[in-house]
Each structure stands twice: as structure tokens, then as C-alpha cells.
Symmetry: C2
Subunit: 415 residues, 2 copies
């Protein structure tokens, strides 16, 4: 296992950061030992990309697993020094170890949760060994629909098996097995990552000390299903989609952009959008009276759509958003009864909602909290006031940081 | 002017209904007398489609104007006996008088507000002469982008001038002029129709007795702008769009369907969607684990998208939704100050919001109510409890009916 540069300590280049990091790859399925998916398929080859920060303690009792959201990756903290591949069609980037990309560059951005993870930060790498891995079906180094199916020598596309949150968590457990980690001090995630944290506590109650579930409930609402459905409709109905077999030609860029623009609206709150953009025109005093960009919010959404197409694979969007649809903790573990499901829990649980989040609403989060409470198990719940909607779990650095530091710092009542 | 069958009275075929109606056409612009649009363009030929129900009183003091919403038409009540044209590409329907359509049928549905308009109904055709006209730029008989530009002999497409709510209201005022109607007893509309009702009271304060504004505020929110923007993006980026010049080929059906599916989510409330569909699967006990329809809400949205494509023109969607974006009563009449704008009002005003409407929220409606109140003018405001979201103005028949009957029945304080 390659350790990151300046592991766990302050980097001279990036004070307060874990510094440069190198993503790791591990093979977690083989022909002899295939990975069986919950939906029935199997994969005889899975590579998982992950990153680690900090040092594993001798007793392996300081492990914090970070689980990422829909479009996230393993690069949660620090600065990634791996070359990034841009596909020949220029559409999106997938890192391939040992591959010399035609156009490559270093990531210029720190990891997606660098504000939370680092020396002296809430998820303190001086104390914790932090792991984050990319989910199955995504496009950031873990096997997904854009990868070559070894049996056909062509990209999987839609022949990739449908994945679930349960599959992701089981694959993460295999990763921990390989790393010699029996038990997590904590698992922490927001949004779809929060559902993985919850699933960890339900599927492996004895392996989880603390489960920290941010901006996530036990299942997606009907409205959430509806938005995902329209996003996928846009991708699937793009003439460049070719039923997922688009890797040798232009892909469904417009469909993917529309899906992202739409999803992005659900990540912001009405209030936050109003404060940020209002009805302000984009770089003009009077409207042009056209169907081009008039309002600032239109320009912002267009940018979100365009930049997403540069970095994400449309098939992965289908698979990952579908996993989000299917997840239902009550169905999985309680035959529809969430409190029954929660009787499995053995971990300390924190649930945090955000006041203006309308994708995973405070009400939805409280449903989970109430179900846990009904089992007699203590649960810490915070509803964090914020104007930032669903994105607040990434944006409300101070408030989330204080919460995480408190929960992670306290001796677990159940450890 | 052709009068409808059994005008204003009970129809034997449809008890309680105004019965069969025939849409009327009127020409409201000519080369000698072009219509100048607010955005700068002009049209030398405008046909307006409208319907009337009931009988005009001798003093012409019993006129109620109905203003329709985004995808509405002039057919507000009764049963339309005009043949409907389906275009050769089978895409959408436009009625053309004097044209023998290749495939034609009668509308099988009553008018969109038949629950409210009829003999003995809240907008009582025994008492009132009711008018509803299709807005400029739409595709239901009033001139719009699908119509032939007489100067080029080709459909306007995107060369059609950008229209505004102000243009619509002025065109309606020209229609009233032609019909010899000086003053409206009332103007009534919901959603974008509610904004027209408000604009009537602001633009022609002396011509409006009562303005009834349902599920509408003085301007669209940032979030509303965002949703419209994504919908238009879907249409414009559909390869069949051809910059609006698609009338001789397959049109941007997928883009229009996506726009409608998305908009439809904003018409329902989260609560209502949850009650209606929840996470129920569509005609199956277990999921198939696929990207086809799994959940009932997906099936519903697909149906909404498909049926909309059959009945609406994508270019019209661009024009009408853009008019919705631009409308801002405060900017138009108060240099950004809504209370200043409201000082123009001379009519009796009713504003009704619906508790779960998140497109034109109760808060947004109250902003208008408060602005009117600040001018010292009385305003009737009702927040109607409903689970039906924005659609409630069409669905909450009893509650809306009682409100309308009360307001229309009472002697106007300002008449």
C-alpha cells in the first residue's frame, strides 16, 4: 500500500492540508472470486479506487470511512498528484493507472471535503486513518460502465449490472478486509453518502462505532424519484446516447447537462438561489428579449451543466442515480418498518439535517431519528439552520465541522 | 360573432355545462394597423382565438374575462365542436378555420375550467358573459411561432417576436374594444393567468371591476426562472430543434417532453406526490432493476411528457415560458417598488394562494398582498389549504368555487 506524501501531517505546500495524495487501486473481485450484486448480476473483475489520509494505528482502531455522494469520488482530501485522463472525445475524465493520456493535467482542486479532513481539522488526520473509496458504477477509478468488460473487450455501457447502496457498502467492507481493518471508528457521509453510512450501521452493526448521517434520510422521497427520473429521461432520450454504447462517438452531452442542471436546482434552496441570483440579469442592464442567457441564474446553471459533462460519464449517472432511487432502509432491513430495521443498530448514530434542504428534508431525516428513538437507542440529531439547501452539508463548514469534531472527539458510548 | 349553442343556459347534452361551443376567430392586427410588441417587434397579422359563454347584457356590464395559464387555451368551458387539426408529422394540434385536416376529431374533454364556468356555477353564465382568449405566441388558434409568416410564407419559428404578459393583456383589451366592451366586471386567472389578471388591474385600472389572482405573485421566483431555463435548455438542445425551424420534420419531442415532465413536478406538491404515488412500483411487486419505468411516479411523468408533445408546440413553450420569466409587476409599474406599482390599482383585488404551492408560493403571493395593503387599498387574501400544490387552483374545485362565487356575487365595493 502506497502511503500518501506527508501522511497525516501538515504539508509544507498546503498548510492544514494532508498535502499531495496518490489514489490507490485495489482489485476486489476476480474470476475465482466474483462479486455478486444484489440485483442478481456478478462482476469477475472490480478495481476500486481509494485514498487514505493519516496513519493506521497499531490496533487499527482509528479508522474513519468517508462515503461520497452522487457525483463524488475517492479524492476527499488533499491534492491529487495523479495525472487525469481526458477521453479522446474530450468528454470526461477517468484516471487509468499506467496509462499515458493524450492530454493530462493535475487536479487543481483539493479533495471535495478538504475543509473537514486534515491535520487539526474536524476529521483529524493526526488522530484518524481516513479512507474514502469511489463507488462501483461511478467513473472515477472504480469499475463502472465506461470500463472495458474483459469478456467482450468493449466498454460495459448498459450491460454493467445495476448497483445498489448495499453493493457499495459490501464492497467497502471487502476493501477494509483487505486493509486488515475489522472495525470502523466511524463512517461519515452526506446525501447518498449519508445513506451509505446508515447502511453500514444496518448491514454491519458490529463493525461500526459511530455512523454520521448528514443530509440523508432512510429513503428518497417521491419528488426525489421524480427529479431523478426526468434527469435520466434527458440522458436516455439524447440521440447520442445509443442505448449507453456511445464511447466511440460523441456522448449524450446535452442530456447529461440537462440532468445536472435540474439536479443542481434541487441542491440549492429557493431562499439561497434568491439571495445569490434573484432575478438579476447576466451582465446586462436590460434584457435582450431572447432565448439565450438573460438571467444570472441561467448562466450559472448552464455553467454547471457544461462543467459536469466534462467530468462525469452519463452511464454512471444512470447507475448511481438509480442506486439512490432504490435505497430504502425500511424495505431492506425491516420489511417496510423503519423502526424494526433500526433494531439492528449497535452503533452510535448522529443524524443532521439542514433547514432549507428540500431533497432530503429535515422531516425525512427526523423520520429516521424517530424510528431509532422508538427502538430505545439514543440518537443525536441536529437540524442545522442554513440557507444553502442540500449543499449545506458541504458548504456549512463551521457548523458541520463543529458537529463532526464533537462527535468524533467524544468517547463513543457504545465502543 | 357566432354565439355558442344554448348560450349561457343548461345544455340538454351536458347538464350544468354551457354545452357545445364554437371557438371564434378575430383579426386584431393588419398591415395598416400592426401590433407593436413591448420587446420592439411588430406583427402585421394577428388572429386571436376566443370563446364566449353566456349573454352580453345590454349595458355590457356583466363581462368576466378568463386568462389562461402556460399551456392553456381559449376553451375554458363547454364542449368544443370544432375539428382539431393534427399536423402531418402527428406532433401537435392547431386548429385552422376553413382547413380540412387529414385526421380530425372532436375534443372529447370539456374546457379546462368547466368546473367553474357554467349555468349555476361559480362563474355563472346565467349572469355573466364570459370570455377567454388564447395568448399570443401559443399554439391554440391565436397567432404563434407555428403559424405562417405572411412575409416569408414560412412558419415564424424563432423569428416570431418575443411576447410579454403586457402584450397579451393589451391584445385582450383590443379584443374587448372590438366586442364593444368598455369595462370588465371581473378578470380571473390562475398561475400565469393570475399574472395577466394582475397586469389587467395595473395596466387598465379603470377598465377592471374586480381582479382575481389565483396561485400567482407579482413575479416568478429565482427557482421558477431556473426550472424554466432547464426546460428550455432541453428543447433547444434537442437535435430536432433546428433553431426552431422544425415544422417540416420531426420536432424536438424529447426536449419538450423533458421540459413538461420537469414543469409537472413543480405543479404538484411533495406531499401530494407522496400521497398519490409514494415509492410504489408500477404494476410490479419487485423492481426489475433497470432504467425503464420502475416507480409509479416515473410512469406518470412519462405519460405527462408524451401527451404534452401531442398537444403543444415546442416553440410556443419557449415563448410562453419566457413571458412568464419576464413578468415583474414591480419593475413594470413601480421602478422595482411593488407598493408604488400597486398605487395604480383601482379595482377590487382578490389574491388566493395554496398552502403547498411551491411555484408561486404563499409567501410570494403575500408579498403582493402586503404591497397592496401598504397603499391603503383593501385586498382580499385567502391561503387555501391543499395538498395539490400549484395545480390546486384547478383541482380544489369546491374551495376555489366558493371563493369565486363569493367575490363575483358580492356587489363590488369599487364598482
Amino acid at each position: 500500500m502506497t502511503t500518501p506524501f506527508l501522511p497525516g501531517g501538515d504539508s509544507q505546500d498546503f498548510p492544514g492540508s494532508v498535502g499531495w495524495v496518490i489514489p490507490q487501486k485495489i482489485c476486489l473481485a476476480s474470476s475465482e472470486n466474483p462479486f455478486h450484486l444484489e440485483t442478481g448480476g456478478e462482476l469477475s473483475h472490480i478495481e476500486v479506487e481509494y485514498e487514505t489520509y493519516g496513519e493506521l494505528a497499531a490496533g487499527a482502531d482509528n479508522v474513519v470511512l468517508i462515503t461520497h455522494a452522487l457525483s463524488g469520488d475517492a479524492h476527499a482530501a488533499g491534492w491529487d498528484q495523479t495525472a487525469v485522463q481526458k477521453t479522446t472525445s474530450g468528454r470526461y475524465m477517468v484516471r487509468k493507472d499506467g496509462y499515458s493520456p493524450p492530454r493530462s493535467y493535475r487536479r487543481k482542486k483539493p479533495g471535495w471535503w478538504d475543509t473537514m479532513i486534515g491535520p487539526g481539522k474536524p476529521i483529524d488526520t493526526k488522530r484518524f486513518f481516513v479512507i474514502c473509496s469511489n463507488v462501483l458504477g461511478s467513473c472515477y477509478g472504480t469499475t463502472g460502465p465506461a470500463d472495458i468488460n474483459p469478456e467482450t473487450n468493449r466498454p460495459y455501457g448498459l450491460t454493467f449490472p445495476v448497483v445498489t447502496v448495499g453493493d457499495w457498502v459490501r464492497l467497502q467492507s471487502l476493501l477494509l478486509d483487505q486493509l486488515g481493518i475489522e472495525r470502523l471508528y466511524a463512517v461519515v457521509g452526506g446525501s447518498l453518502g449519508g445513506q451509505q453510512a446508515l447502511e453500514w450501521a444496518l448491514a454491519y452493526p458490529e463493525r461500526v462505532g459511530k455512523a454520521i448521517v448528514l443530509a440523508a434520510s432512510a429513503r428518497l422521497s417521491t419528488q426525489g424519484l421524480a427529479f431523478n427520473s426526468v434527469g435520466r429521461y434527458s440522458i436516455k432520450s439524447d440521440p447520442n446516447f445509443h442505448n449507453g454504447d456511445y464511447y466511440r462517438s460523441a456522448g449524450p452531452e446535452h442530456g447529461l447537462a440537462a440532468a445536472r442542471m435540474l439536479a443542481h436546482i434541487t441542491y440549492l434552496s429557493e431562499e439561497g438561489m434568491d439571495l445569490k441570483f434573484g432575478r438579476r440579469l447576466q451582465n446586462k442592464i436590460k434584457p435582450d428579449f431572447s432565448f439565450d442567457v438573460e438571467f444570472a441564474v441561467e448562466s450559472y446553471l448552464n455553467h454547471q451543466g457544461k462543467s459536469f459533462v466534462e467530468r462525469f460519464d452519463a452511464n454512471s449517472y444512470l447507475f448511481v442515480s438509480r442506486a439512490m432511487d432504490y435505497y430504502d432502509a425500511a424495505e431492506r432491513w425491516g420489511e417496510g418498518d423503519l423502526a424494526a430495521a433500526c433494531r439492528r443498530l449497535r452503533s452510535e448514530i448522529l443524524v443532521a439535517s439542514f433547514s432549507t434542504d428540500w431533497l432530503y428534508t429535515p422531516e425525512g431525516c427526523r423520520e429516521l431519528v424517530h424510528a431509532i428513538t422508538r427502538t430505545g437507542r439514543p440518537v443525536t440529531y441536529a437540524d442545522i439552520p442554513s440557507q444553502y439547501g442540500h449543499d449545506a452539508f458541504l458548504v456549512e463548514t463551521k457548523r458541520v465541522g463543529r458537529l463532526l469534531a464533537g462527535i468524533l472527539g467524544a468517547k463513543s458510548r457504545f465502543a
